[in-house]
Symmetry: C2
Subunit: 539 residues, 2 copies
């Protein structure tokens, strides 16, 4: 049965109409236990979902909806390694990557565990050799810079983590990220020395157009510096499932790290895709990241739905999307170190749940993933917050903070956090300035009070980390992964495929052939004119 | 009369229902002149709005709507310096900043022209002194690094421009931007030498909480290095309307650049707020930026509505927002140099038009500014494009490209541009894969064809610059400013105020006092618990 035909869904639709007239602050007055059921804490990470238009009755219905969608069974199936990615006939075992090696906690085949243990050993050995200057460049120089060449899941996750952990002790090796084609790789290489630069080519298929083009540009740069095609062996590693292609590219066999079909790109930073993290901050920091994610996994797998933080987080989001009909979700870390988090969540959520076909192969009758967007606070207060407070659209906001900051003074950090708390309070309360006729300026017919009033009753949630550490960051990212999974289960869609990106790839290949060959294929007049202008400019 | 009661608005509402069943590519077949009326070119900047569900009849009605809203008169009033910012009783004269100095083209009071000419001369002199090493640090060292301390409009515009012009010839001085409080300023200062670092404090009021806190931290750093409070005179400039406060801070009078109440923060990069641009790339690059914007101004002021690129751009956006009811606008530059453009447009559009009160002091019955978000292509293809192709929401996308790139190889640039064109084609055409029962895999009940199909008919627009130069960038930003103004006029809201940010500021000040004093004020249970956790962690 489609989920929107379930009893709980229908009752929630009715409740959404009724609660429209209620104010969130009235719910706090009416429900002394409100903070209890709408918050949760897992190992130094606290989530507060209470500033939303969810009553106890609605919360209970949301849990019922989850039960009617067999959520607990779905969670068990995810961890068990069932074929949850049914359109690609694969399990999704990113959680297995985070298990302490060889604890035997779950019942996966030993071969996957062995593969992971082997990969971790390879990663350890490689980082040790780098740090002991045994893994040098072709001319024997110490490696000072590592450039990760990868795009999408082979880029955003590791780049976010490396940026977020900037206050951790550095290994002394600078890590750079190149994803896009265009001038980006040239821009990065300008400041680097080939003798001391090492490249990681991260592509599951070793066939990603942008990544391979950048990798070839990097290889030419190395070849040019050493006039020796053997030099690539001392300057390149690959993370890929396609060992043959990496070998043909000129990469040493022991520099080829594995990827597996049971880990999707956007869930892969926990695999060897996380190599830049281990290089930048040491293997122990990477392991602490995995441990934090594993703590969240254990909680997600074992806790009751009512006390399960990723589940509560997902259900409040679902309430906003499908019943309040809010259009998008705004993510605002009050912490510069998490400035890439909105982009990371755009990929995680929109690529996972930006789908319209259910497992019954039907077009769904309800909205799936909201548009995810955001920016860093308090900068965003001086940018788009005007609309959040006084625009015509209601947009739920998620704030993320760390209670302490190792590099910020008490005055700086208090100012930052005070601003964050004030925003969530202001969005909820509004200003409720009475519209007074005497504030009307005669000259322009303006009643200032009307223009100054903020309606309030705009929901927000706050995620609080005691401190931003590898552990809490791992837990935070795992929280988002699991809430994405929960929403996918209820929407009855496959959160682990991405068929929508295929069409653009094949059309791009056609257009590139056309540009190269100088041919003129048939296009609509708009595309034809764009192509004409490009060909003229390139001629 | 409220705009939604106008005849053209009502007819557009009716048309939106009818055209739902039509496909964009059918409109190209039916209308040979389609590209003519839905595109425009201004001095090396070409805009193509034709891949949208706008027919000739709808286009004509949109122009009628603009006329019924007296758009031409509003444009004239803007340039004439009328009090268009009626809630603050001010004109909005960012266009005056871009006029060639002393041409006497329009009828503004000479005093504003004189003020601008004086400011430009001050800016010229300052940059000359820096470049000739006459403006040195306290100990006589050459200034190598300039840190701009400002937030919102005093940050995003200049930072975007400096990032976008990275391929221009550098002055040799590195420009850095610090906006947020927290660890950011410490992070930037770590790599700098006080002897050769200069700070610009950019704040119209010289009272912006974040900016002043960062400025004091920078001043302490300078004082600490020289053990001399006079050192601030050789290391600080201000851009502000509050000269007294800047003097008290310890800034030399001739280092204080003016701001004026007739330039809003988000429209201010053309004023002395653009000083970092002139420092990084020379005054001539800054002047070329102004000239590009001025070319767009002239076009916007003088062209008929039907041939007016900012007007057409605005009307198609309005069609998407108010009649198609699309929820957000996605902005995707296929150019790393424009990676900050989505954030810039978030501020420009959402702070300008994220309003709900009309000039009649009434709550409007229609949506105003869409949520603006985006990312760089082709990276975004590997992130959120899945949802754009196959999600349940239709999101119009704006692509921005440069036909040539000085630092990118032909292969790189062709690959990038081919991907962009392919996306606009794919979004419009879709894949229309027939759902075939024989593709149904028995095991999981999956009909793969259903999951692979993309529905298409998703609108996009493409802005094409011949090259990314100071001139084309100026024109591009002016295009967005003017389309924002046009939409504001039709929505009957004030695009130049921002009352919505006031409430959060005053609550933040209260909470900060509470944290500092250790007091316990009354809050809702959620805010109280967040505060309790913060106070505990800080204790």
């Amino acid at each position: 049965m489609p989920v929107d035909k379930l009893a709980a869904w229908q009752e929630l639709t009715r409740q959404a109409e009724e609660i429209k007239e209620v104010r969130i602050d009235e719910l706090f007055d009416a429900e002394p236990e409100r903070l209890n059921y709408l918050s949760g804490e897992v190992d130094g990470l606290y989530g507060d979902l209470s500033k939303s238009l969810v009553s106890k009755q609605i919360f209970t219905l949301l849990i019922e909806l989850a039960e009617q969608c067999h959520l607990s069974e779905a969670i068990a199936a995810l961890f068990r390694g069932d074929t949850v990615n049914r359109t690609e006939n694969r399990p999704a075992l990113h959680t297995l990557l985070r298990e302490p090696v060889a604890t035997g906690e779950t019942a996966h085949s030993d071969s996957k565990r062995n593969d992971i243990a082997t990969m971790r050993k390879q990663l350890n050995d490689f980082c040790s050799r780098l740090n002991r200057n045994e893994q040098t460049g072709h001319s024997g120089e110490r490696i000072c810079d590592v450039v990760n060449i990868g795009i999408g899941g082979s880029n955003i996750g590791p780049e976010l983590v490396c940026d977020a952990l900037r206050n951790e002790v550095s290994s002394g090796i600078n890590v750079h990220f190149v994803a896009n084609v265009g001038g980006d790789i040239h821009h990065v290489l300008t400041d680097l020395d080939p003798a001391s630069t090492f490249f990681i080519v991260a592509s599951k298929s070793f066939n990603t157009q942008e990544t391979l083009l950048n990798a070839r540009t990097a290889r030419d740069w190395i070849f040019g510096a050493f006039s020796n095609t053997a030099a690539s062996k001392a300057h390149f590693a690959a993370v890929t499932a396609n060992e043959d292609a990496a070998l043909s590219f000129g990469i040493e066999k022991h520099h080829i790290f594995p990827m597996w079909e049971w880990v999707g790109g956007r869930y892969s930073l926990w695999s060897a895709i996380g190599l830049p993290i281990a290089i930048a901050f040491g293997v122990s920091a990477f392991e602490r990241l995995l441990a934090g994610a594993h703590a969240m996994d254990t909680h997600f797998r074992d806790a009751n739905l009512e006390q399960n933080l990723p589940v509560i987080h997902a259900l409040v989001g679902l309430w906003h999307t499908n019943f309040c009909r809010y259009e998008s979700q705004c993510v605002v870390p009050y912490d510069d170190r998490l400035r890439l988090l909105p982009a990371y969540l755009q990929q995680l959520e929109m690529e996972s749940n930006g789908k319209r076909i259910s497992f019954d192969n039907e077009i769904v009758n309800y909205d799936t993933s909201p548009t995810i967007w955001g920016g860093v606070g308090s900068n965003s207060q001086h940018a788009f917050f005007q609309q959040l407070h006084q625009g015509t659209r209601v947009t739920p906001i998620e704030f993320i903070i760390a209670l302490t900051h190792p590099q910020s003074s008490e005055e700086h950090h208090s100012t930052l956090i005070a601003n964050c708390f004030a925003q969530s309070e202001a969005l909820m309360l509004g200003s409720r300035v009475a519209v007074r006729q005497d504030e009307q300026t005669a000259e322009h017919g303006i009643n200032l009070a009307a223009h100054r009033a903020s309606p309030g009753n705009r929901p927000s949630s706050t995620i609080v980390m005691d401190a931003l550490t590898p552990e809490s960051l791992g837990a935070l990212l795992a929280l988002y992964e699991h809430q994405t999974f929960v929403q996918g289960v209820i929407w009855d869609i496959n959160s682990f495929d991405q068929w929508g990106v295929e069409l653009g790839k094949s059309l791009a290949s056609n257009i590139l052939d056309e540009i190269r060959s100088g041919a003129h294929e048939r296009h609509d007049p708009s595309t034809a004119e764009l192509l004409r202008r490009f060909k003229n400019a390139s001629a």
